[in-house]
Amino acid sequence: MPITEADIEKIAQLAHLEISDEERKMFAPQISEIVTYVEQLNEIDTSSVEPALGGLTPEGEATPADRNDEVQPSLGQKIALDQAPDPAAGHFRVPKVLG
């Protein structure tokens, strides 16, 4: 299916990307080509196939992933905030949320 520049704009909005006109022009034919390529999967009848969701092996599936609900040491506030672009009073400060 062809992907138009308007589609690219809509996808970019969904993906939280503010793309330039130049990028829109570049991405539309490239993503169209890739989407057309992947549509070859429609040749295969999968009506009776269960999807393989996830990547686990049978042994991985059988490995219990639960653990006891115990308090463990964590990074702590200082380390967690250490690399924030704009930390303030123990929080992550961001630009205003509602306009």
């Binding site: 570049m26 991985g60 490995t63």
Partner: protein, 488 residues
């Protein structure tokens, strides 16, 4: 001149006959000298590595360290405390993780010394290293050629002899393909064999940490230390860890059956690669293997399946880069949503944006069943193909990459052509099985060619042994143009 094997080196350091400090000093100096030509390291940790080496030389438990003083390099998407983790991206800024990846922790506990972080395609997305925000790694065999990707830096530093072993990550071939293009061993283990805690997520149902080395036994030594269950990664499986080194060095089983798919050796395969694979099949015959024709009818769809699943998972995993908690934030955005969008626009490179958008598209309302669910169903069929094939054979031989290393710029404007480089490698990630790339010849231009051995789940011992048998019969002794001369 072959370098000392990892085991001889680390045993000698453990016994106190060789100094860890001198070993690490030599590796760090080589890294510093060759990095102008290779651009393979994004950070070299001279001081940290030397002080760690000194600590090993004077350590009371030195003799019990399995990797005493082993210099290693780590791809810059795997966390090492105290060093940067950029993922080859601007969006992480100079991020310094506050903890070690479990795989790194286990290597350090065994006495290995991290000498630096290696360059890669941004967020491990690429087959040529041209997507690194910090310039591409150059191939030590020919600096006009790509080293492969995405773990090109780790492949190049092992090929150039700077370190005997390096870590990468493999989501669709990102360890095996650069290993092939740089003439070294590249191992992607079974999904769940090595913890991904501390590996920056790309495609979570596909990602595995992998190993670059110059011999199968060296790869085995490092795998043995890193493998096994980790409570911090729920996808690690509770499967016993064999003594991989001694398993690797055993003789090839007398009734070893090697599967070959003729259909995979047809269209699009470079002639010289085809000849090298035919020679490798003959070598296995000489080793006593039975060659079995197998069929993987859905393998031709693997790239289509992969680029739906990997981009869908990436679009979700990379949603976390929003300029709030760490890394880069765009300046002067009036509101939160604008800040997210500008941060991501300025912070991500074109290939990452392309994949985020493709992944967003295939997951978006109305398209999920047509693309994502369809791909997961074909993935199930591909897994069944492998299950059937492994009922007939113990391992499957394929090329690793359809061509030797190509020139910079050759495929950069054609994303689909670039994706097709991964035709032989993505199947292992989709199926969750282990694979190893082994050097098996040189092209007429003197560039390495790699073959790939794929095995059933948890068959690392068997494919390492098959690789070891091959490299014993046909030693790969050629040296790249750019390499460390330790005899100077």
């Amino acid at each position: 001149m072959p370098s000392k094997s990892t085991r001889q080196l680390t045993e000698s350091i453990a016994r106190g006959e060789t100094s860890a400090r001198a070993t690490i000093e030599s590796a760090v100096s080589a890294a510093e000298q060759l990095n102008d030509s290779l651009n393979a390291f994004l950070e070299i940790d001279r001081n940290g590595a030397l002080s760690r080496a000194e600590a090993i030389d004077t350590s009371a438990n030195r003799e019990s360290l399995r990797l005493a003083g082993l210099p290693i390099a780590i791809k810059d998407n795997i966390c090492v405390k105290g060093l940067q983790t950029s993922c080859g991206s601007r969006i992480l800024g100079p991020y310094h993780p506050p903890y070690n990846a479990t795989a790194v922790d286990r290597l350090l506990a065994a006495g290995a010394v991290v000498i630096g972080k290696t360059n890669c395609d941004e967020f491990a997305m690429g087959s040529s290293n041209e997507n690194s925000a910090f310039g591409p790694v150059r191939n030590p065999w020919d600096v006009a050629c790509v080293p492969g990707g995405s773990s090109g830096g780790s492949a190049a530093v092992v090929a150039a002899g700077i370190v005997p072993v390096a870590l990468g990550s493999d989501t669709g071939g990102s360890v095996r393909q650069p290993a092939s293009l740089c003439g070294v061993i590249g191992l992607k283990p079974t999904y769940g064999r090595i913890s991904r805690y501390g590996l920056v997520a790309f495609g979570s149902s596909l990602d595995q940490i992998g190993i670059f080395a110059r011999s199968a036994a060296d790869a085995a030594a490092v795998l043995e230390v890193m493998a096994g269950r980790d409570p911090h990664d729920a996808t690690t499986a509770d499967v016993p860890v064999p003594a991989y080194v001694s398993e690797t060095e055993k003789d090839l089983a007398a009734n070893f059956r090697l599967g070959v798919s003729r259909a995979l050796l047809g269209d699009g395969l470079n002639d010289e690669v085809g000849h090298a694979i035919a020679d490798a099949i003959e070598a296995y015959r000489e080793l006593g293997a039975e060659i079995v024709d197998i069929d993987l009818p859905h393998a031709k769809y693997a790239i289509a399946v992969y680029y739906i699943i990997a981009t869908a998972e990436a679009s979700s995993n990379l949603a976390r880069y929003d300029g709030v908690r760490y890394g880069f934030r765009a300046e002067e955005a009036p509101g939160l949503r604008d800040m997210y969008k500008r941060t991501r626009e300025e912070g991500f490179g074109p290939e990452v944006k392309r994949r985020i958008m493709l992944g967003t598209y295939v997951l978006s309302a109305g398209y999920y069943d047509a693309y994502y669910l369809k791909a997961q169903k074909v993935r199930a069929l591909l897994r069944q193909d492998f299950a059937k094939a492994f009922a007939q054979c113990d391992a499957i031989l394929t090329p690793t990459s359809p061509t030797p290393a190509f020139k910079f710029g050759e495929k950069v404007d054609d994303p689909l052509a670039m994706y097709l480089n991964d035709i032989y490698t993505v199947t292992a990630n989709l199926a969750g099985i282990p694979g190893i790339s082994v050097p098996c010849g040189l092209s007429s231009e003197g560039l390495p060619i790699g073959m790939q051995l794929l095995g059933p789940y948890w068959s690392e011992s068997a494919i390492l042994r098959a690789a070891h048998a091959y490299e014993t019969l046909r030693p790969f002794t050629a040296q790249p143009q750019i390499h460390v001369d330790r005899n100077r």
